[in-house]
């Protein structure tokens, strides 16, 4: 059973360059960003997530919305396990695929083929498992002979195709996305969207952060609203999940 349980999660980012600034009040509200505060050691901290509790269960397609600096990305990174909460607890059951940065680890000097192995290893695959997937990834990316060339020779579109093909070839119980993934030119985009939808439909839980509420309404059955690192509420969407319908991006 895949699930996510968050209890009173607090994430503070210490700001080590910012000591000279005196903060008159303990909490300063600004239009964007988390709350600025001072911690016990008189350090300036940004409270990116403030006492956030929620539960996600199998079948949940959660859209996370909020303006810049509201804590969306931080929340995803906490779910990915990169940041451990300063206080509170998070319990994630099931394999997590973090698609926050699908080019992470790719090396411009290495060939496309080598990068398949690097990316897949970062996502937890053994070289043997990657070998089994490699041909399919190469075929999908349509890179042809370029796969044996260093990535610096790729156009940015080509690099994205490869990154997309690799990241979407590995299924997981829980998928985290920061904005909807898309790659390539018009014809490729269509192919990419159906591949992504197939992957997402296999996932037990999807958490998607986006500014595009229409996109979220089309793909999610829950909307989670964040503001200044605080959870405003989780709204159940009555409309059935339309994730199987190809999206017009």
């Amino acid at each position: 059973m895949a699930h996510v349980l968050a209890r009173n999660v607090v994430v503070d980012f210490p700001i080590y360059g910012g000591k000279s600034r005196s903060l008159k009040s303990t909490f300063i509200r600004s239009a964007t960003g988390g709350l600025l505060a001072k911690d016990a050691n008189e350090r300036v901290v940004v409270r990116a997530l403030n006492d956030v509790s929620f539960e996600f269960h199998e079948g949940d397609r959660v859209g996370v919305v909020g303006h810049n600096g509201s804590g969306k990305t931080t929340l995803l990174r906490v779910l990915a396990g990169a940041y451990e909460p300063v206080s509170g607890s998070i319990d994630v059951r099931g394999g997590v695929a973090s698609m926050l940065s699908i080019t992470l680890g790719m090396d411009m000097e290495a060939t496309g083929y080598e990068n398949i192995f690097v990316r897949a290893a970062i996502m937890g695959l053994k070289p043997k498992e990657t070998s089994a997937l490699a041909n399919e990834i190469i075929a999908f990316s349509e890179l042809g002979e370029y796969i044996d060339m260093p990535m610096r020779t790729y156009s940015s579109g080509m690099a994205m195709r490869l990154a997309f093909a690799i990241s979407t070839s590995i299924s997981a119980d829980i998928i985290l996305m920061d904005e909807w993934l898309s790659a390539g030119d018009a014809s490729f985009t269509q192919k990419a969207q159906s591949r992504l939808n197939a992957l997402l439909s296999q996932a037990k839980i999807l958490v998607l952060a986006s500014h595009d509420e229409k996109l979220i309404r089309n793909n999610c059955n829950k909307i989670m609203r964040l503001d200044h690192g605080q959870l405003i509420g989780i709204e159940e969407l009555s409309a059935p999940v339309a994730a199987r319908v190809p999206l017009a991006m």
């Binding site: 990915a80 940041y83 973090s98 992470l104 090396d107 080598e114 970062i122 070289p127």
Partner: protein, 267 residues
Amino acid sequence: MFRIGRRDLSLALKDLWDAIFGIHVWPMLGWLEIKQRYRRSVLGPFWLTISTGAMIAVIGLVYSRLFGQEISGYFSYLAIGWVVWMFMAGLMNDACTTFISGEGYIKQIKLPLTIHVLRMVWKNLLILAHNFVIVIIVMLFFRPDLDWHLVLFPLGLLVIAVNGVWLGVFLGLICARFRDIPNIVASLVQVVFFLTPVLWKPDMLGAYGWVATWNPLYHFLEIVRRPLLGASPSSLSWMAALFMTSAGLVIMLVFFSRFRARIAYWV
């Protein structure tokens, strides 16, 4: 500051375990880092070999005269010492940036943090392998009397590599938090070079030989250098090296258990 729960310790150990056995990524990353530095150059990493070789040739010629040493013995001593010193210096300098250079990974996804340390040690082992060509050339040329002590050589290297791991965790963590430390370490490594018997031998100092005896780096150097010169490292060297290794591993575990979860916030 150092309240460490059993959970912290087990998470720290799990991180190390997963990094060593679970993730098949650090050998690849270490190699890519070297490749990246020598991109599109014809000789690639062998530029390391050439520049080290030139350095040793010149220093060997000048200092053997300066110290009035017999040239063949001095050359072997210098070549091995220099190459191993470069390995140790590389570990000390790179230890500072293990986590800082892994920032992109650390903030995005959950990977064992110590893969960045293993990557760093592996990279330096690969550099050592390239530089070691010099040692082989010098030894083929001057033919020191090798004997069974040679088997101690890989053991000595392993001890240094393990010390690279604890240093990479410990310094990597401190430097992620206090960004002035890498500069301090870099200056110290340069100064300590002259205090470590690489160019000179401890007996040249006469009454001041204790400068070497009390320098842990001397003992690390000895457990690798002596076997290659057909001699046995002194038991003092072994004891000093093993003491440093075990003390270092304990320090690493204490700090890593306590601050592992903070690293993502510091980098």
